[in-house]
Amino acid sequence: MIRITHQREKCIGCNLCVEVAKNRWRMSRKDGKSTLVGGVDKKGFFSVLVGDDEWKENKYAADHCPVKIIKMEQV
């Protein structure tokens, strides 16, 4: 399993994660920030457990996020 964590407050809404991992990320039209699909909020850090098959595209999003607010870990 993989845990994806997103520090949503710091998102600048560049759209990169949505472009590269479109099944896991959505842009919110409410505040212009990206939203981690299935993410649960814990003090501003949204996290979700997903299958290993989602590693590649989300790792790409994490590595290339311009404000480095996406974390990936194997659990």
Binding site: I12, N15, M27, R29, D31, G32
Partner: protein, 414 residues
């Protein structure tokens, strides 16, 4: 009404510290960003939408105008936030929004919020100003124009009697000091291509400030280049020809640096305030310019050049990474309280030491910047020559000290 009654001096404010420093140093106006839709979105020093009422309250007390930057490229998912910001600007009585996207022009017009056309729109000719006059009263010209081109635009505004939405003649604003892009502002995609970090979404990673080598991939031979920093422009500085700048008829001079510290804002605004005032009262001189340049060099800079304004030295490049500032500040103590009667501030030393004669800065969100020399130190109410880590001491201060203030020692950068 500006303090100089002629040219408005606009300061960058990335934090409450910088804002207070700008006000104290004599700025006529400040500009600042909030949330993610501004050109310093990556900066940790951003205000939030909830800060707008306080920004207006503090600045209006000092007759300082406030402008909010909302000048990134906007996508569909940003529109709702943009509209929310425009409404907040209107409610909190911020004076104007600096914008480059047509969606912002449209929304601001609907809400009756004034806008300034950002340098991101690259306005470089009089017909563009005629176009933008239907939305705005102030246009920030492209930073790549020469002063002759600026002057010609200002004259033509008068000749054509181009009036903005308020009915006043269109005002021209230009950048007077600070960092320049290697590309035409707002047209650089280096950072996006290399790191997916769009400069035009405020996330520039500043590829141009790094050093590079050129290698022939076929045989691995490295080409010799005089300067590895082949893309890093020096910083713009106009203080030595500010009289010529003002003679063009521009109405607003903007200082770049929303990502810079409060002491940068303090020193830069002080120098330009003095320069503008001395041009008005006829005391502007080479001697004063030399002193201002010396002071400007003490804070962050990449070396100075005259940008594109004089049209003679195209491309002056920096030759090292980071700042050429001649001074640096070291955090030494935390502010504790102020004794009104004794006019002294009490501090607790947290690192290093301070001795009589040292130059120090006190920086805080309400205090702004106080720059002074240590001429008396008291430890346990007894005068002393030096204080070190752990000491609680007092320093004579004419201005109020607050618990949110921090004390820094200024030392030579080398």
């Amino acid at each position: 009404m500006t303090k100089s009654n002629k040219v408005e001096l606009m300061a960058p404010a990335g934090s409450f510290e910088s804002m207070a420093a700008a006000i104290k140093a004599g700025a006529d106006s400040i500009y600042f960003g909030i949330e993610q839709l501004n050109m310093r979105a990556r900066s940790t020093n951003n205000f939030t939408i909830d800060d707008l009422p306080e920004i207006h309250e503090v600045c209006s007390k000092h007759n300082v105008k406030t402008y909010l930057t909302l000048n990134t490229i906007l996508y569909d998912h940003d529109i709702s936030l943009m509209k929310k910001i425009i409404v907040a600007v209107k409610e909190s009585k911020i004076d104007a929004v600096i914008a480059s996207d047509y969606a912002v022009f449209n929304q601001a017009k609907k809400e009756g919020v004034k806008i300034h056309i950002s340098t991101q729109a690259n306005v470089s000719n009089i017909d563009s100003i005629e176009f933008f006059s239907q939305f705005s009263d102030v246009v920030v010209l492209a930073r790549e124009l020469t002063l002759k081109q600026v002057e010609s635009i200002v004259k033509e505004i008068k000749r054509r009697d181009l009036r903005g939405i308020s009915g006043e003649l269109m005002k021209v604003e230009i950048f007077a000091h600070g960092a320049l892009c290697m590309a035409v502002s707002g047209k650089c995609y280096l950072s996006l291509h290399s790191n997916y970090a769009s400069a035009n979404r405020g996330a520039c990673i500043q590829n141009c400030r790094k050093s590079y080598v050129v290698i022939d991939k076929e045989d691995g031979v490295e080409l010799e280049i005089d300067n590895e920093y082949i893309m890093s422009a020096k910083d713009l500085c106009t203080i030595d020809f500010l009289d010529t700048v003002i003679d063009t008829g521009v109405k607003v001079l903007k200082i770049e640096g929303r990502g810079r510290s409060a002491d940068y804002v303090h020193t830069t605004i002080q120098c330009y305030r003095e320069a503008i005032d001395s041009i008005e009262d006829g005391t502007y001189s080479r001697e004063k310019v030399a002193l201002w340049k010396e002071r400007l060099a003490t804070v962050f800079n990449r070396g100075f050049w005259d940008g594109y304004y004089l049209g003679k030295t195209i491309g002056e490049w920096n030759n090292e990474y980071g700042s050429k500032a001649t001074k640096k500040k070291i955090y030494v103590a935390k502010g504790l309280k102020y004794y009104d009667d004794a006019k002294a501030g009490e501090f607790r030393m947290e690192s290093h030491s301070i001795a009589l004669g040292d130059e120090v800065l006190i920086i805080g969100p309400t205090t702004g910047v106080i720059q002074t020399f240590v001429d008396e130190l008291r430890l346990n109410n007894v005068t002393t020559d030096t204080v070190k880590k752990g000491d609680v001491f007092t320093l004579p201060l004419n201005e109020k000290l607050r618990p949110s203030d921090r004390l820094y020692k200024l030392v030579d950068a080398q």
